[in-house]
Symmetry: C2
């Protein structure tokens, strides 16, 4: 554990911000001063941290003058507005949960279990990956290290939390309305989510993929240092509150058996092997919720191949934790080692 | 339209049976006599058919003595018990929705848009495919015919209706309980389904796949006459009421562009092209519900390949209709052409 730091959480009242504060507390991150920053609307309210009330302050450029680490989760436009304070700054680091700097060459994109060493190459800004990508990388990287991942086809089952606290509330409200025989009100998400699902997360690109799907493609390549990784992803929003699941079909350079994969996952950081189908043990979002580790299971040899280079598996991870807040705090921990 | 037939529906009060009766009515299937058969528990109750009350009778072996076509959806054990009445019988045909005869050599397995001609090779029994498989085949077959399907990776998003009327009610009851802060009662399904999902449909096999997943593999090969088709499937139950969705990654023998695929789907039977993402048009279970046709969209060139032989797409189809009742009635229509 390193020295005590002055930490700011920008966007402390959002779904991810709240989890950042909780995670800093739970992991006992060494903090000499904690600043909780939000918009003027929330300023003056208080949040508990280690039993004490911390007053939420309105975020201004002055807020970061005496801060060592700033965890940002206030949306891309806010991140862009404040980034200039950090870029090239030797005294403080921005760990940014938005997507806007992730692919910048001078911004490391870090999943600590995969590429912790990249964090030290920062120039004032470190990016926290897309939630689906972080959850996938922590599960897939140990298999890649052992057997060389070549190509992957992913289909996701993404929770409402990916759209923020308002999207989670919308799932609950719509569900209550539908059960009461009333029409679902669509305000935050692209479509009705209650008793429905839709293959539309973030906007559509010219190649027919969504930005979310291409984040998986681009960010996974950067995080795992695999500029040639072939990866196709279909991202689907499902009526689940806060854990994302992913169905992964993987092709490796070398032969890999399910038994070998289970041994690798058992010994890897950030994941829990959850693979005893005979006893109804496999990853599920309700079990992944509130957990730091990503659940990995349903590991089996791909029957659509004539060799032993293919595996199928299913994973679930808490979108707000490994998919966002936890990973950001872990990056701060790496910097403070 | 052929001659009027004496039709029996075995299991008329189940989720699929109810839809069989509705579908016979809506499609104006020529019926001279309709027998609605169920267990002793339901005998004596009535169901509406074309405005008239039809009394439900207790199913016995005598029930089928004067029947031309019997649509069975009463579970595998009932189908097995009654099959002897039909096998080798030249006067009546059993169209069976259970899984028990699907892979028998003398039982055709039919999706009319794909292999209608197989229906005439029956020996008294014709099998109705697994719901996920029927929905997939009607969407994929026209692409295969044009470009030669070689390999497919599928991940499903399967509705509660696949578990019958009781599973649908369990989804509703559990959801109401969870919203009220009460624990979800798990009685019918393998796990809590409210605000959750699980990769477990039917039982697990030695190869790590579920029976449901291997049904896709085996039945798709038989229906599409592709004994060498390479197919890997991950089947997941999601909190949706009655339409199944599937994320499909396909590899073809020949090059195929998304534009070509859209033209093929536009002109194919049993499917509706639903692919205008810029206007938020793509397949979703709430839109597929109560529809005969399978919705096909999100068609795009697979970015995990360096050639033009790969496509991704997303489909949704009503599990009770194309996945069960409609397909069974369509088989009866083929026989009566």
């Amino acid at each position: 554990m390193g020295r005590s730091l002055r930490v700011a959480v920008a966007g402390a009242t959002g779904a991810v911000g709240l989890e950042m504060v909780k995670t800093l507390e739970k992991r006992n991150f060494p903090i000499s001063e904690l600043k909780l920053l939000a918009s003027a609307r929330s300023a003056g309210k208080t949040m508990k941290f280690k039993g004490e009330d911390v007053v939420i302050q309105e975020m201004t450029k002055k807020s970061f003058e005496d801060v060592d680490i700033a965890l940002f989760s206030a949306g891309s436009s806010i991140s862009k507005e404040y980034a200039e304070l950090f870029r090239g700054n030797k005294n403080s680091v921005m760990i940014d949960n938005s997507s806007c700097f992730r692919m910048d060459d001078d911004v490391p994109l870090v999943v600590p279990e995969v590429n912790a060493e990249d964090a030290f190459k920062h120039n004032g800004i470190i990016a926290n990956p897309n939630c689906t990508t972080a959850i996938m990388c922590v599960a897939v990287y140990p298999l890649h290290k052992a057997k060389g991942l070549k190509r992957m086809v992913a289909s996701t089952y993404q929770a409402a939390s990916g759209g923020g606290a308002k999207a989670m509330q919308e799932l609950i409200d719509q569900t209550a309305d539908v059960l009461a025989g009333k029409p679902a009100q669509v305000n935050v998400m692209a479509q009705q989510i209650a008793f429905n699902l839709f293959p539309h997360i973030d906007s559509f690109l010219d190649n027919g993929y969504t930005k979310e799907e291409m984040k998986m493609f681009n960010e996974a390549r950067k995080i795992m240092h695999m500029p040639e990784l072939m990866l196709s992803c279909s991202c689907v929003r499902v009526p689940v509150l806060r854990a994302h699941s992913e169905s992964l079909n993987m092709e490796f350079e070398q032969d890999i058996t399910p038994e070998e994969a289970r041994e690798i996952i058992k010994n890897a950081p950030g994941v829990i092997l959850c693979d005893d189908p005979a006893n109804k043990v496999y990853p599920m979002p309700i079990d992944a919720t509130d957990k730091y580790d990503v659940l990995v299971g349903r590991i089996r040899q791909d029957v659509s191949r004539n060799d032993k280079k293919g595996l199928e598996m299913f994973i679930s991870g808490d979108q707000l934790l490994k998919g966002a807040a936890l990973n950001a705090v872990q990056i701060a921990e790496v910097l403070n080692r």
